[in-house]
């Protein structure tokens, strides 16, 4: 756990540094006439300070092994989580090109299939049904504008 906490604190220090760095470029103004960069700079600096503090805290506190928090590698299903995240990310990338109907059907197919309890046939059926229902609900009933994509010729 300590490794994860140290790495995350280092990451936050990096984030703080990046914000401080670009704040300097935006224009700091002065304390009696604050510019757009002044307060982000201060916030970033505080973030660096607190993250350093967290590192110190992690290093000096001796903790019992089990302190309520779940161990990082407890889950045996890392693959599932990874697969879900990748599917969703790809969905964001292809949504405008494939269109709502096709992209949603494909992502649902994966989501229903990934946990591994369903056959392909079952997953196809339930994904198709869900896509149709949500399209009816959001596209027609709630009048959300959903991207038609390559299926535009269908005129749905």
């Amino acid at each position: 756990m300590k490794i994860g906490e140290l790495l995350s604190s280092l990451l936050l220090i990096l984030v703080g540094t990046l914000f401080c760095h670009s704040s300097l470029h935006i224009g700091m103004g002065s304390i009696n006439a604050p510019g757009p960069g002044l307060i982000p700079f201060g916030t970033g600096a505080l973030l660096i300070l607190f993250s350093v503090g967290t590192i110190v805290e992690v290093l000096i506190t001796k903790r019992a092994a089990a302190q309520g928090s779940s161990p990082f590698f407890k889950g045996r299903r890392w693959g599932v989580i990874f697969a879900v995240l990748i599917s969703l990310f790809v969905y964001a990338l292809v949504l405008n090109f494939l269109g709502f109907l096709l992209a949603t059907f494909l992502v649902l197919l994966l989501l229903f299939k990934i946990p591994g309890e369903r056959t392909w046939k079952g997953a196809v059926g339930i994904a198709a049904l869900t896509t149709a229902c949500t399209y009816a609900l959001f596209g027609y009933a709630l009048q959300c504008s959903l991207p038609p994509g390559i299926l535009e010729f269908l005129g749905l």
Binding site: G4, E5, S8, L12, V15, G16, F19, S22, I26, G27, I31, N32, A33, P34, G35, P36, G37, I39, P40, T43, G44, L46, F50, S51, T54, E57, G68, S69, F72, K74, G75, R76, R77, V80, I81, V84, L85, L88, F89, Y91, A92, L93, L95, T104, V107, L108, L111, F112, P115, E117, R118, A127, T130, T134, F138, Q143, C144, S145, L146, P147
Partner: protein, 501 residues
Amino acid sequence: MEIFSGILQGFATSLSITNLAYCFVGVFVGTLIGVLPGIGPVGTISLLLPATFRVDPVSAIIMMAGIYYGAMYGGSTTSILVNIPGEAASVITCLDGYQMARKGRAGAALGISAFGSFIAGTIGVVALMFLAYPLAKLALNFGPPEYFALMCLGLTILTYLARGSMLKALSMALVGLLLSFIGIDGITGLPRFTMDMVHLMDGVGLVPIAMGLFGISEVLLNLEEVIKRDVFETKIKGLLPNREEWRRSKWPIVRGTIIGFFLGILPGGGAVISSFISYGLEKKLSSTPEKFGTGMIEGVAGPESANNAAVGGAFVPLFTLGIPANVTMAVLLGALMIHGLTPGPMLLREHPEIFWGTVTSMYMGNVMLLALNLPLIGLWVKVLKIPYGILFPLIILFCLIGAYSLNNTAFDIAVMVIFGLVGYLMKKLDYEGAPLLLAFVLGPMMEQALRQSLLLSHGSFAIFFTRPISAAAMGLAVALILSYFLPFLRKKRPNLEEDNV
């Protein structure tokens, strides 16, 4: 007299067919997500936000408030029947509620939590009405230093009460502030931290962040293991608690209501904390504290009342100061602002129908919830039995559509997925999402107030300590931070989740 005409005006608004319908949808969806694990009120309100764009702001707020208090009702059902809390505020109900169910008193436990919630919810709303006007009048005199100090205090309390390290919680609040600075600067009109991306010109959206941190990440956590949910197979009969049970629950409900309402006003998860404190108090006051955890009705009645009264309390700072007390209120604030309304003392004056309509709709909502939760309990038990393999793709799908339809851009979906991953890792590493989101909402207001204060004072931070209200708020915030860092005081810091369970 203002209050009475306000109430009348409020009922005129909330009793319209449209608003009753929105109220019903709100409490229904609220109960549903309260029952379902893996999606809470924050995620749901963000999800439904895009759907309310074409709706009157009053109706939108009525519905979203309904989701919030409806979730409190629904959360208790799963605690009692399955020993899995649907909401954080119902965690403590598991202890005695589930034991009551095992002893064949599931009906009474569900009944008392519904009645307790109803009584507390209604009293909370009454207290909200009477407190809001005087407080809003007071708040009209507040200048930027007062607002800045109060927001600092709010964030400090939230981080102080956070689980685990306060340093980590403070870091998260700062990350939230930094995220809120992305986009066009409100004062100079210059783009900041946009990395030359057009999509970031308007800033990062509240909805994708909230749904990522509180929706997607929850789903990912639940996917880690195959969840088995055994609904306690029992005939739920006799939802009315008997006379003896009423006698024992009476005072816990009253005490829970008072604790809940006042803790609800304070920032930092009022509903959750007040339910823990109420449980602890009932245990302390009981003549048989050793029996707690074996199915004591006091242990259900008190906390369930407290978490519902806290909802009324949480609206006080939102409507009177424009400062949200918790993450759900922060999302509601975001919703009001998207509708072009700025909550705060001026809202009560300029748009009284929003305040009174929402408040009076909460009476109606509480009545509807009683009707929804008691006779329809069988329906909710069925919902509980939906396998997670079906449920999670649906939750994700709604999040995808919600994120997309806000601005009709796939960029927001990507932001949501990234924050889903971030939220998941944060939970693994014991960082809390609430300070981040609250700070993200408060960020622009805090920055503006700070800049204006510094302009007023010609660059002197003493301005925060020379005006009485801001001095008191700042003093309290500093005291809280010191009490964490001074090691000899540190042991006294309340660790609610460990001490009281």
